[in-house]
Symmetry: C2
DNA sequence: ATTCGCTCTGAATAAGTGTTCAGTTCTTAT
DNA sequence: ATAAGAACTGAACACTTATTCAGAGCGAAT
């Protein structure tokens, strides 16, 4: 035996894998999923096209991992924001506006992860990604229901609907187009958060208070 | 001049065009947009592949017309339901539940029209299709606002969000899967309609009444 | 019946990209 | 220094479908 994987090599391999994923993410953020093509991604990652296949069995796997990664980040942000909130209702508000802000700060990436047509089948990964976030929102709704702040309801359905509303309103093709203006962006996030909270049964006056509480703290995310 | 388009020929040409569109629609309803391929559609329409191109310049045009057609039907149904309602709030409720029922009665087709990945670019047509419906909903919201039934709000944003919520909850990948059961279907339509009405600010108790009013009349659509 | 021109056919073509693989380069251990 | 194994390269390949087009078929007027 004259060759052995030394620690250094293992590290380099891992770094390459990350580089490829990062390149894919960058491509997606710039040009959507359509821009995630093996050859360009390989160039971005400073490897040859064939090398990509030593790390990912197929393009579908590469994109699936990309989706999973982005989704993990978003879920973590949502949890962080919600856990920092003082009560179940503001946790829900924080979760919702975090999704909104997150999605808005990377519109193309979000659209790519969520719904943009891709030539390979990444349905499973997309479903998993959505379900993770939806489950998180559903459990926050449930907590608010248990606390007596919301009427009893099908929380899974509600969570799904809320996410659909956020996505369509913020990154869908009918989304307002001047969301680069920070003021308008904030207003829009507030508006959709308010809409979402009312949808699950938060009374209007109370909702307005929660929206302000929720949106202000996460504003910093936009800069990140 | 030894050849002239006689009335009979004109009629036959129009019939063929319709047959091709109908074949495309059938394919989409059965297998989603992925099944709308020139060769299979041609077979369904009893013509050769090349003939399709005598009626539609490209696959993109064919699909765009398909989207427009389906969208026209849906818009007409929504208007009919809303116009038949006694007041602005119930018109809104009727419009929303009509969209819900309509979309549910042809899930695959709806998904194809709305969001399923397609290999050609039909973005423009999809945007137009959504905007038509969204505008209709927005104007119904506006009417309810003017009547003092709803708080002032960005009606365009609200309409977009509502449609997103309906679509995601009913035909998106996280949609409940046992919607073939009529009881469960009705409950789900009621739940999302209630959610949507509350989102735009209808008070809970009033919303429940509107939902019942709205859903019952359009139930017949499911059979159609 | 014949001719002109439109319509239809369907096999061949085109084009874009994911994937492969034979050869090259690099890394480790002796 | 050298051998053996692993990783990398990138041009060639494969595959899928939309699209084309030369020739066959058909309808209308004379």
């Amino acid at each position: 035996m004259v060759y052995r994987r030394t620690h250094q090599v293992v590290k380099r391999l891992a770094a390459r894998r990350s580089a490829i994923l990062a390149a894919a993410r960058e491509a997606a953020a710039e040009g959507g999923m359509a821009a995630v093509q093996i050859a360009p991604v390989a160039v971005k990652a400073n490897v040859a096209a064939g090398t990509v296949y030593r790390y990912f069995p197929s393009k579908a796997d590469l994109i699936s991992e990309l989706i999973a990664e982005v989704s993990r980040d978003e879920l973590a942000a949502v949890r962080r924001a919600a856990d920092a909130a003082p009560g179940p209702s503001s946790a829900l508000a924080a979760a919702i506006s975090t999704v909104a802000v997150h999605v808005l700060s990377q519109r193309k990436l979000a659209w790519g992860i969520l719904a943009e047509p891709v030539d390979v089948d990444v349905t499973a990964s997309r479903i998993a990604s959505r379900r993770e976030i939806a489950d998180e929102i559903a459990s926050r709704i449930e907590a608010a229901v248990r606390a007596g702040h919301l009427p009893a309801q099908d929380t899974q359905l509600a969570a799904t609907a809320l996410l659909g509303a956020l996505h369509e309103a913020l990154v869908g093709p009918l989304a307002p187009d001047n969301l680069d203006d920070p003021v308008r962006l904030r207003d829009t996030v507030q508006a959709v958060t308010l809409l979402a909270l009312r949808a699950v049964g938060v009374m209007d006056a109370r909702a307005r208070g929660l929206v302000v509480q929720a949106v202000l703290p996460v504003k910093t995310l936009v800069g990140a």
